[in-house]
Every structure is written in C-alpha cells, then in structure tokens.
Assembly symmetry: C2
Homo-oligomer: 295 residues x 2
DNA sequence: TTGCATACATGCATTTACGCATGGCCAACA
DNA sequence: TGTTGGCCATGCGTAAATGCATGTATGCAA
C-alpha cells in the first residue's frame, strides 16, 4: 500500500486551484495529467475524492484532508530546500529576485546587467511583479519591497528612503502655476479617490480625468497631457518631459527594503546580490529622495 | 524549481537502507531506478548527496537533512492514510493483521478462514512475524501482541491471559517422574540460559541438549525426543505426543493483546476483525490458561 | 590464489506516463 | 437560437521512466 507522493501534491494543487486547468498550470503539466493522477489516486484509495462538475473539480472531505496533509509536506519541502540553498556557498546555479516592475524598469535593469556580467554562472531569474511573492514558499530568494517595515518572519535590510511628488507636462504645470484656482486635471491610481492633499492645498479645484491600476500606463497618460499625477520621485529622472508641479513639496513614502528568508542568510549567491543592491542604492540615494535638478 | 517528492522518498529509503538494493526493496522498484532517481535529484540540486562506495551509498550531510525532512513528510502521509482508513465504514478493501507465527499456526488459522468467508470483500493480509511491526507507519492495521502492557501510543484490548508449561515426550516424562534426581535433557530458547526455575525445583539436574531461536523448530526437536521444553500452554492442544512434566505447575506469562492505532478506532473493517478475535479468545480461553485434559 | 557473494555501473527493450488534438457538455450572452 | 468560452472526457503518438541483462570492482572465505 504505497501511495504516490506526487499524487498527493497533485491533489493539493487541485484542491487549491479548483479546476484541472488551474492545478495543471501550477504543476507545469497538462490538465490531462492532473485528471489521470487524480483518477489513479482515487483507485488506489478505493474512494472518490472529487465531484466532477461542469464548473470544475469539487473536493470532498477526504480530498481536503489529504490536501491539508500535503500542504504540511510541502512546507517541509520548502524548508529543506531553503536550508540547502542557504548552505550553498557556490556562485553558480539558480537565484530568484522579485521586485516591483517600476523599480526594475527605471533603475535596476542596468544593475542586473552588471550583476549577470560579474557572476555569469549564477542563473538569475527576475520576477517583475507588484504582487507579494511568498519567500517562505520559495517563490523567490530575494525580494525588493516598498513598505513601512519588513514582514515579521523575514529578515530585511533597508536600502533607502524615498518620496513621491506631483508632476505634469510643462504646459499643464505652467498653467496651474499661473492660476492655482483654475481646475487642474489629474490622473490617479485606482486606490486613491483624489489628488494628494499636498497638491490640493495649492490647487484646490481638480478634475479627475481617469483612474489607472498601472503606474506605467498612468505615466504614459500624463506625458500625453491627460493630467497631473503623483508618482515616486525615482521615476522623474528618466521623464524630463514631466516637471514638478510648482509649490507642491515631495511627500515621504514607504522606504525600499531587500528581504530574504532567515534560512537564506548564509547563501553566498543571495549575499552577493544583496551587496550589489546595497551599493547601488547607496550610490543612487538622491534619485529616490530628491527632486531632479532642473535642466 | 520543482523538486520531485518521490525523489525525496527515494533519498529517504536510500539513507535508511544504505545500499541501492535495500532502498529498492523498500520502494518495490529495482535498484537501477533508485540509482537513477538519486542521480536526477543530485542534478536538480546541483550537488552530490551520496558518496558511491563499494560497500554502498554513503549519505552526506545534505542527504541526511533531506531524509529527515522526507521522514517528516512520510509521517504526514502515514497519519492521513490512517485517518482515511479509520474513517472508512466499508467492509471491503485491504486490512492488515500481524500476529506471532505460533499463534496463527496453532489457533488463528481457522478464525481467519471464517473471517474471510464472512467478509469476502475484505482483502485481509496476515503478517505472521514475531517482529514488532510499527502500526504508526501503517505496517499493519491490527496487531496481536504478547506483552505485559500495550504500547503507550496504541490502544489495546486484552484478549486473554495465558500461561506456559514444561513438556516432554511420554517416555522422557515418565523417566523423569521415576527418578527426579536423574539428569533431565532440555531444549531451551536462545534467550534463556537454563530450564525454568519451576522445573528445576523438582528436577535439579539438567543438561541442555540444544538452543533454538525458533519455537516451531524447538517443538519439533522436543517431539523427536531431544529433551523437555517450556512452551505456551496453547501449543499443547495440538501436540498430544508431548505431555506435561509431572510436578511442574504452569507459570503465568504475558497476556495476549490486540492493538490498533487510535486513528483506526472508528474503522469498521478493523472493528469487525477485533470483534471476531475477542469472541474467539473468549471461547477458547482455557486453551491458553489450563493444561489439556489427559486423554 | 580462486571462487563466491554483494555492491555499483551501463546498454537495451519495454512499459508507462505524458502531451496533443478532438469532441461533448454547460452556462453566459448576443 | 446560435455563438463563444469555460470546463471535462477520450484516443493516439511520442517521450520518459522503468526493468532486465551484462559487465566490473571489492571483500570474504575456502
């Protein structure tokens, strides 16, 4: 009575995903394979685990329990893998970094290029996403995060403080400066209802032209003249066609951290990347904190 | 970076077994497969896990750590499997019973036959071994054990008390009775140095003809006239050519228990077998505790 | 030394698992 | 009522994992 462990992992993925396709995606196989593995597991156990429904596989109680056990097994796997990686003193093999898209596009790309040149045997994977990846689950080895504090279970190092500011195309900025009481057009992030208070103090009348859930698109819209926007100062360096709104001071924003799991503290690969990041941010500190000098 | 869980299980088996063959045996595959899985795992991790030696695979630190994690995963697997089995209210499918060889040969065989007739859909496996199988690791569902008390983690039910006595062929017994001071030949279990005290009281002069590590063989030798022996009373019923040594009273011995894991208490299959065992031992109690009536 | 047993390594044939493509079912929507 | 997109089921060809057979090294005992 030997039960295939990878079948347990498959059941876990299917309970998590709800459909064959989602589970298959998670496991990097086709859903055909998932279906067959589940079928095999059910035959071995001599009982059904899922209800086949048009909208997906509905896990029954047994499947949920199996998945819970598999989740604990998965935690064991992640832990030992972290420990093995952490003990690794080589400068070769895989290393995964996650960072906000914006940061990579605007600043980190050259650093990454330099790093890859310096350590050609390290197979660096960059996951440019704004989602919070789970370092415990080894979705990444190092994470660059913008937040007030690092998570509790992770160890972090503060790379630098940053601020954001309000920008617009030169004509828009000039018009606003000429008549602060006139209605000022804005593009805002979906999370916010209105332009920042610091801007409303000098430009009380505003009109929100559009909302965006993506900062890159928002910047593009602002450059096209759709309206003013608030954005991190570190974006300003590469956007000379956006100028600060006169009279609006930069505001403090969450600092930038580099985080890793405790188990990876000793990892040489993670260390050298962390060092490179620290050097970079120390050298470029002012780009994150100060308004660019007017040209 | 997905690591195959069954490769972890393979590493565990190899660390435990020490050689490819032992691990392969444990996993019910060929050692070729074990070797290849280990090779694959090492490639994926980018480091060696075992030293190949002429006397076997010697695990390095990493392999030991991996095995430790895999052992915890295995514990999870066993637990969930026990729970699923325990919840099973069907009277079909596999069920594993372990019991001492002697008990099965002498008494339980007809009970097992009756049980299989009554529940033809239960696929009963009987493991007739004197080794203590690990119910936690699902090596068996139910165990019949002869011991002073059930283990601490298991739940048990006392089936009956038993005693043992001293027996010999009729000529040998008659000769001893005629002259208690004469030298009496014995066959003894390897664990014991000398005949039981209860016998030495009346027959102080003894000579050990042979030692055995197997009770069946010992009985065969005694029947062939090699010497007297101590054996459980329950063996006497089927051995009319061995008679009790006169003047030697039966001695208390450890009672007989039926044990199961806590998780299996609710299992219908285990319940019905346990009930059958209890009925059997209640009905045949005296065969385990009393000397057979002389014919 | 010469078997002999036990270990690992390797090449080849087969089985097994897998991915792909097709088809059916059901719901949402025009 | 047709259409589209999301599911799942099934059949077929391929690729990967496995088993078997052979070869080699090592240690033990006659």
């Amino acid at each position: 009575m030997q039960f295939n462990w990878d079948d347990m992992r498959t059941i876990l993925a299917l309970v998590r995903g709800g459909t064959l396709a989602a589970a298959a995606d998670d496991l990097s196989v086709t859903y055909t394979t998932v279906a067959r593995r589940v079928q095999r597991a059910e035959e071995q156990l001599g009982r059904a685990l899922f209800e086949r429904r048009p909208e997906g596989y509905l896990p029954m109680q047994e499947a949920c329990d199996l998945a819970a056990a598999a989740a604990r097994m998965e935690a064991e796997e992640h832990q030992i893998m972290r420990q093995l990686t952490g003990r690794d003193q080589s400068l070769s093999g895989p290393l995964v970094l996650t960072a906000p898209q914006l940061l990579i596009q605007s600043h980190l790309a050259p650093l990454i290029t330099g790093f890859c040149d310096q350590y050609p045997d390290i197979e660096l994977t960059v996951r440019a996403t704004n989602e919070i990846l789970d370092l415990t689950r080894r979705e990444a080895d190092l994470a660059i995060r913008i937040s007030a504090s690092p998570g509790d279970t992770l160890v972090g190092h503060r790379l630098c403080d940053q601020r954001n500011g309000c920008f617009a195309t030169p004509p828009l900025a000039a018009a606003a400066a000429a008549d602060p009481q006139a209605v000022l057009n804005w593009v805002v992030y979906t999370a916010y209802d209105s332009p920042p208070q610091s801007a409303q103090k000098h430009y009380p009348n505003f009109h929100i032209r559009a909302r965006f859930d993506d900062m890159s698109s928002m910047v593009a819209a602002a450059r096209a003249g759709l309206g003013a926007l608030r954005m991190p100062l570190f974006l300003a360096r590469d956007l000379p066609d956006l100028v600060p709104l006169p009279q609006v001071a930069p505001q403090d924003y969450a600092p930038i951290w580099v985080l890793s799991h405790r188990d990876l503290l000793q990892s040489k690969k993670a260390q050298v990347l962390k060092d490179a990041l620290r050097r970079y941010f120390r050298a470029h500190q002012s780009e994150f904190f100060d308004l660019p000098a007017q040209m």
